[in-house]
Symmetry: C2
Subunit: 300 residues, 2 copies
């Protein structure tokens, strides 16, 4: 019998994940606050629902693809939430990036109702989501993993099983976000500084991507700067949120994170300057704006 | 006829470069302030000299492998300096990392005497130096490149010709050092923070090196942290120097570098705590010391 899965949140990531699940043979019902997003999924052969509760009815698994803890809580426990209707013994797979404490609290609350919670933040962009080739950083009980396994395999190329406690997956994701956020900010700082020094930015990109100064984010994001294309693949606001969570976690743990703090300020400045919804490589534009240089014409 | 080359500075990098030149058929005379370093080179079949002037006598090329602009100036123009004896029309290949302004000044002073100056900072560690497989970021006149070409090819796997003005190679190297320094500092911050969060550091290394948060420096240096091995491959003091040059350049250009500044402070704190001559991954030890965590036993 075909297993039923609800996907809540049909943005660029959720839509791809829903379609990967369909390709793997699951019967998928999608739900989103945007009616247009639901219609797009239905047009692509999916089934639509009006609320998380409707989507989760008769489903054994709910995959939540939203941006933060507050939205995840609302999907589960808000009005017409999925926790009302998800089958007892079913699994809730949470992909939002959030504070590990928040993941632990949501898991405890859901598990008290007899349902399983898998803390499963994702990594990889929309293209990989559509290919079923994400990386998933998962933690949770053995029962949650057993229930979720087939769905995880349909959505991901790499599944890291990081422990039996919700919150551990979230913590790994935050360590990744700390690094990625700083790497994007410093790549922007370095490229704008190179322009200020009169260097050819295409040459800088060529040299750095083959040198010890390279990072995955430099190689990926600085191509956007060379292309002068700031259409959002991932937005400034995402790192305002994620480096904000890092700050909250670090302060709560009495742990200093001066480099991440400096990077957060650069994302905040970019957001304050009106670029919050633009590509996160826009930090380079902010440096250029401050220093009065033109990245698009910075050639020797 | 065999071409004569002098190599001034026979540390771990210079020795490997001198031996690569010998293998390529050059007659190499080495010189170092340390008599032990000269003896080591002589024992390996090289020729030794007491002063830069002696080493450069009858040579067509001098390769300088020292750490900064002051040492480079001393080698060229100090007492018994190489500029006294290097053949007119010969080339001085300078590999030290320095402020582009300093490179331009040294080049102008040497070229006024009828000798060529190639600004040629190197990248890659001692192993690559010994293999003749360095990366060289070179700039200088066409005459300097023509004269230096054979020597460059003997020492490097990748030679970037970055323009006809001394200083451009230096500027590219500083952009690389800005990125590498920040990447080492933030890798240290992230690993220590992960330990504080109770994560298994081997697992963190495995996940991050396959994720968007990866950098060349994370992958290379955090292995030292996992191994609890802080024997210097490259020392804290090198980044105190190089990020210091970045600060000087940026201030002179009225360009803000907040991320590099935060990283410099972490290298300075590590040096202040007595780790200046230890491996640059020691920044992780500094975070651990501050926060009272034990990186060597941080397992879940």
């Amino acid at each position: 019998m075909t297993q039923r899965i609800a996907v809540i949140g049909l943005g660029s990531m959720g839509l791809g994940m829903a379609q990967s699940l369909q390709r793997a043979g699951f019967a998928v019902t999608g739900c989103d606050v945007s009616q247009a997003a639901v219609s797009r999924f239905v047009a692509a052969g999916g089934q639509g629902a009006a609320t998380p509760a409707d989507a989760a009815r008769d489903a054994e698994i709910v995959v939540s693809v939203v941006v933060n803890a507050a939205q995840t809580e609302s999907i589960l426990f808000g009005e017409s939430g999925a926790a009302e209707t998800l089958a007892k013994g079913g699994a809730f797979i949470s992909s939002a990036t959030m504070d590990p404490e928040a993941a632990r609290a949501l898991a405890a609350r859901l598990e008290a109702t007899g349902r399983h919670y898998l803390d499963a933040p994702i990594s990889g962009g929309a293209v990989r989501a559509a290919e079923g080739a994400l990386t998933i950083l998962a933690s949770g009980s053995a029962a949650a993993f057993t229930k979720a396994r087939g769905a995880l395999e349909a959505m991901a190329a790499n599944i890291y099983a990081l422990g039996d406690k919700p919150g551990t997956g979230a913590a790994f994701k935050m360590i990744n976000q700390l690094l990625a956020g700083v790497h994007i900010a410093v790549a922007s700082e370095a490229m704008a500084f190179a322009a200020k020094q009169g260097l050819d930015l295409h040459k800088v990109y060529e040299v750095i991507t083959k040198s010890a100064g390279n990072s995955w984010c430099f190689e990926n994001r600085m191509q956007h700067v060379l292309d002068n294309d700031y259409a959002p693949r991932s937005a400034i606001d995402i790192f305002v949120k994620d480096l904000g969570i890092v700050q909250d976690m670090a302060r709560a743990a009495k742990f200093p994170v001066p480099i991440a703090s400096a990077a957060l300020q650069m994302f905040l400045m970019s957001a304050a300057a009106g670029m919050g919804r633009d590509d996160d490589s826009s930090v380079a534009r902010l440096y250029a704006q401050i220093a009065g240089i033109d990245l698009a014409s910075a050639r020797r």
